[in-house]
Each structure stands twice: as C-alpha cells, then as structure tokens.
Symmetry: C2
Subunit: 109 residues, 2 copies
C-alpha cells in the first residue's frame, strides 16, 4: 500500500468534511447564506442586514464564497452599476448542512 492511497479515511486539508468546516467556520458565513436564501440581494442590502459587518469583511467573505462556487455575482451595467449576489445551486445545499450543525451545536456542552 502506498503512503497516499493506503489510508482513504484520513482527514487532512483536502478532506471533504474539513473543507466544509473551513467554508462554514467564521462569524459571518452562515448569516450571509441565510440572507441569500430568499433570493438575490444587492451588496448594499447585505451590508445593511448584516448588522455590524464592515464593508471590507463583507466584500472579502463574498469573494471567498464566490471562489468556492457558493455564491454568484452579477454586475448590471447601469449608472450607478448594480451588483447582485445569489446562492448557486451548491450554495443552497449548504442550508441543510448548516441546519444539521446548528441542531447538533445546541446540544453541545
């Protein structure tokens, strides 16, 4: 058995469970996903509804979620330009994972 192929169950940085944990962990991700569940939102709407988030952090989290295929961005070439975010098909699936984690988390000591 090779060193790499010998242990299929090992959970290093590339492990699916860990990848999901890394997406979800952090203060704002679950709230951004929740705010996008009903449909498209403008950047300014998210900034307003996520009370306490800084514009810089919101932009960084959206970019991170976009890079992982959770969120998609559409820029409308209006004046002034309008930017809207929505969950991808994959992003909507995160709802079930977050719900399972939330349910388990409430039972933790």
């Amino acid at each position: 058995m090779g060193t790499k192929g010998g242990n299929e169950s090992s959970c290093d940085d590339g492990c699916p469970v860990r990848r999901t944990a890394q997406i979800i962990d952090g203060k704002w991700t679950t709230q951004i996903v929740r705010d996008l569940l009903p449909g498209k939102r403008r950047y300014s709407e998210l900034l307003q509804s996520l009370s306490g988030i800084s514009p810089k952090i919101l932009a960084a989290r959206l970019k991170f979620l976009e890079s992982h295929g959770i969120v998609s961005k559409t820029i409308y070439p209006e004046i002034p330009p309008r930017t809207e975010y929505k969950l991808t098909k994959l992003g909507r699936k995160l709802q079930g994972v977050i719900a399972a984690m939330a349910e388990f988390g409430t039972r933790l000591k």
Copy 2:
C-alpha cells in the same frame, strides 16, 4: 433592543454552528468517531486503527471529545487496567452531521 439580545442570528464563538465546526475540524476527530461507531474500543485498539496518530494526540483528542460529551470513558480495575471508550448518545448523532458535511465537501471546488 439590547446589544446581546438584538441579533439572535449572529455567529460568534458561542454560536451552535461554530461550536460544531470546532468539534469536527481537525485531522482525527471524524476518524475517531467513525472508529467508535460500531461500539466500545480500547485505547490500544484505537491507537492501532488510527494509523499515524501519536499516543499523545490520541489521548488529547479523546479527552477533548470526552469534555464535550461526545465520548465516554470506562476504566476497568483489572491488572493491567483496561480503558474503553464509546460514543455517547450525543456522539452518535455526530454521524449525521459528518455525513452531511462530507457529502457537501465532495462538491466543493
């Protein structure tokens, strides 16, 4: 609205989703849970089946999981003493969460 009660959805260190992520994250937790799913295991059996884990890390992870009510430990006063670990009722519920995270993680870029 008070500062604390005003935003029920905020996900700081005490948030259920984050608490779950903190339990699950890391290289070994999911493997320890998986190894305990069939039933009780002795410390030495876990050490053997978790190929590559150090005795110190295994002891630390088990202690961490015990402190969060995921794993329970029984020491049998034999000679030499026998120590067995098993998942608690709560710990068994982690299986569903891990499965949901694993399924989602395989879809991530």
